[in-house]
Amino acid sequence: MAAPDPIPTAGGATPNRGAFPRTRRPQRDWTPWLAGALTVGVLLLFLVYPIFTTLASSFVPQGRALALQNLSLVNFERFFTSPLYQRAFVNSLVVSLSVTAIATLLALPAAHAMARVQIPARNLLMSLSVIPLIAPPFIGAYSWVILLGRSGIVTHYLDSWFGLSVPSIFGPFGIILALSLSYFPFVFLIVQGALAAADPFIEESANIMGASRWRILRTITFPLVIPSIASGALIVFIRSLGNVGVPAVLGGDYYVLPTLILFQVEGFFNLNGAAAIAMVNVLLVMAFLLLIRRFQGKKRYVTLTGTTRGARRSTRPLDVVLGSAYVWGLMFLALLPQILVVFSSFAERWAGTLFPTQYGLGNYRLILGSVLQPIVNSVTLAGVATVMALAFGLITAYVSLRKRFAGRWLIDLTVMLPFVLPGIVTGVAYLTTFNTGPLAMTGTAAILVFAYFVRRLAYAFRSISAAIGQVDTALEDASTICGASWGRTIRKVTVPLIAPGILAGGILVFSTLIGELSVTIMLFSGAWKTVSIAIFEYLTSYRTAPAAAMGTIVIVITLTLVFTASRLLRRGMADLFR
């Protein structure tokens, strides 16, 4: 009996196997473990540890060491004894809840109109809607003074034409107005996306059964997007609760918790007091989170189906006219502050008159000497933090999505934690934790970079997770079968496939860090003054013209970045932010 030809097999012991050398047999692939350990380590050091230090130091009186025998509730007592603290607490609640309610109410009709009515220039509108999210709200806040202040343009005409007066722009009215118009796009983008992705047959079948348009809206459309509305509202609430810039510019003596923290830190360097206020801030977020969960948690409605047909958009003239008027009107209002910033940056003489009396580039010449360093600082800090967030976000997202291990949910939760932490809280936590001790970083660039990194990690993680989720695991398996190691598979297969997702995440992180204020204001030092701090200092010393010039530069830089990214990725600007 003739011996059969040897068939080359991967594990076989036939001596004359194929001409290709075998790949080195890995002893054991430790890379995922290393990556996992790195993830856990970094999260513990730069996120969990600062939060717990802050929590602990909020129970210690100012100036005392962190020790068991020093524990007391003195910092929290202020909320029961000091009228300033009590007012700030109530004000914060009033502002955040009002902003959340108003922003949501403004956004819902716009989202519905965008998804269900054929509105002219819809792509442009979608792109415009992200501008309020990129441009830091405090930069545009002063515009409301120009419009609605005591000698504001709108105030003047309201008075001379109708004899109407507006409430003072300094105080709750101005803060709520500015924040609502800055933050409504969060709800708008999420809800519009959900409406556009919904199965159109569901509404059609209700229609067939005899339901009127209003009835469908009330019993089908609205209930289905409640979870999306809740997500959007949650982001708005957290943002408005943690925003320090707008109340600092428009608050006057109307204190909210973030400005109270600023006051405690800048005035008295009372870190323990600030920590306590920050914890109250966190408590409020958690309370709201639990409230929102009631709307969100019950059931996840997966209505996406294989159908490629989108919902039909109405072309009835009445719908189009009303829808366009509303959406364009709202978008105009939301962009008005940014438009006015750019406009007033060209105003050379604007004193005591309704409109400027002389235009020119004077403001830009004025800041020429002082603008470069802050911009370089901002770009450097934001750039380093972005690269870190992307690298780390990639590893974390990969490990969390592709590797099965116990405690994976813990990593997900921890990474997303900064997402629900108001910015000012991160600032306080870093100031408290890294001020002294083995990791003293106060005053260095490093503390800003790490704070930025931690604060935006969730963005990078989400963008990259979404991209990885769309890569078929079979592609990676195929690479492994061919003999590639884990690291090589990631480098050669995964990363090239998800590069657009990484780039989108990077742009998102970078552009929102350029004008970051809530954390920066707690942690910056003279050597590392950022452009947002420079603008803030101009604004609070009422030198609004150079502030406008510098604000314009920030707006132009970030817009250019996002616009370029959307072109490169061939995705709508709005899609980068969803």
Binding site: D199, F201, I202, E204, S205, A206, N207, I208, M209, G210, A211, S212, R215, T219, I220, P223, L224, K299, R300, Y301, V302, T303, T305, G306, T307
Partner: protein, 370 residues
């Protein structure tokens, strides 16, 4: 008792696209009445779904009329047409329970809770959904979701029952079971049904009549046996089941058929005559004045050296044993393509590579001639 009579005249739909107007449905005339189960069948893009959507009111009409019981529906919004519809994706309301989904139409009609219970529960039970009324759609299997969407569409006794490819998302076995169930409940409730599908077997098995669409036109309407046995166009002959085309010249014609001469010169008797559309003739590559169409099960095979009888000749390329039948692929110069022959009892002496004679009885042959 309602009369129930759907009457469609000159129905036309033109879509305005960026590349100019596209006619999706052209001049469709159709009458459906009583508790008829009517299927609209055709390849994708043939206009069947657009026609159904115009009946439902979800799509506007470019021209023509749709009337039900003498009442013009064209001007009515779909919510006032009193229809029940099942969608391919089921379109169940994900935030409502099975019971609430099924009760939705009755709630819209302001029916009392007691009556809703009395109507919905038996319907759910009849559809095999007992005990599931409190579940959410996401907790149901595909087949169960399908049943819920049927219950939802029929709960309020609609005038018409419209189904848009309802079985496309189910696996093969469930499809067969569900189509029987759909027909059973449709006949039980005595509701007029319009069913859209691209699956000819499905259409043949459930329908009282079938309408075959092509490129926006209604090509032929009739009961399943009729459209199968007496196709009036090459398209219908080819689309429903399999068929063989033999280009020919019609020598003589009378009331009972005629005599056709195939390309090789063989003369065959044909039992039926139909008109040949010149466009179709070009499309199917018929370079002759007429074409004889015969189904695979009506062709007979015999060894080439068998006693002489009229027939064309060919060579068996492949014989497939399929259990109940044997299917032969025969290379034959007289046909447009390889001839397919199916027979339950294979003739002796016919194997792959054999020279064979292919013949047919006149009663099974239709000659299309211009």
């Amino acid at each position: 008792m309602k009369q129930r009579d759907l009457r469609i005249r000159g129905l036309t739909k033109v879509f305005e696209t960026s590349e100019g107007p596209v006619t999706a449905v052209k001049d469709v005339d159709l009458d459906i009445s009583g508790d008829e189960f009517f299927s609209m069948l055709g390849p994708s893009g043939c206009g069947k779904t657009t026609t159904l959507r115009m009946i439902s009111g979800l799509e506007s009409i470019t021209s023509g009329t749709i009337a039900f019981d003498g009442r013009n529906l064209s001007a009515l919004p779909s919510s006032e047409r009193n229809l029940g519809m099942v969608f391919q994706s089921y379109a169940l309301f994900p935030h409502m329970t099975v019971f609430e989904n099924a009760a939705y139409g009755l709630r819209l009609r302001k029916v009392s809770g007691r009556q809703i219970q009395d109507r919905v529960q038996p319907l759910l039970d009849a559809l095999g959904l007992e005990g599931l009324q409190g579940r959410y759609p996401s907790d149901l299997s595909g087949g169960q979701q399908q049943r819920v969407s049927i219950a939802r569409a029929l709960a309020y006794d609609p005038d018409m029952f419209l189904l848009d490819e309802p079985l496309a998302n189910l696996d093969a076995k469930l499809r067969v079971q569900m189509r029987e169930e759909i027909r059973r409940i449709q006949k039980e409730l005595g509701v007029l049904a319009v069913y859209v599908t691209h699956d000819q077997e499905e259409a043949m098995s459930v329908s009282d009549r079938i309408g075959i669409f092509r490129l926006g036109r209604l090509m032929q309407v009739g009961p399943p046996p009729e459209v199968y046995r007496r196709p009036t166009s090459l398209f219908v002959a080819d689309f429903i089941g399999k068929i063989n085309f033999f280009p020919a010249e019609l020598e003589t014609a009378d009331a009972h058929g005629g005599r056709a001469r195939l390309r090789s010169g063989v003369e065959m008797k044909v039992g039926h005559l139909e008109r040949l559309d010149p466009d179709e003739s070009v499309e199917y590559g018929i370079e002759a004045a007429a074409v004889v169409a015969v189904r695979p099960e009506h062709l007979r095979l015999a060894p080439d050296d068998a006693p002489d009888a009229p027939g064309t000749h060919g060579t068996v390329r492949r014989a497939l044993f399929l259990g109940s039948i044997v299917r032969y692929f025969v290379i034959c110069d007289d046909a447009t393509k390889e001839v397919i022959v199916e027979t339950p009892d294979p003739p002796t002496g016919v194997d792959e590579g054999s020279r064979v004679r292919v013949s047919f009885g006149p009663q099974h042959a239709t000659c299309f001639r211009s």
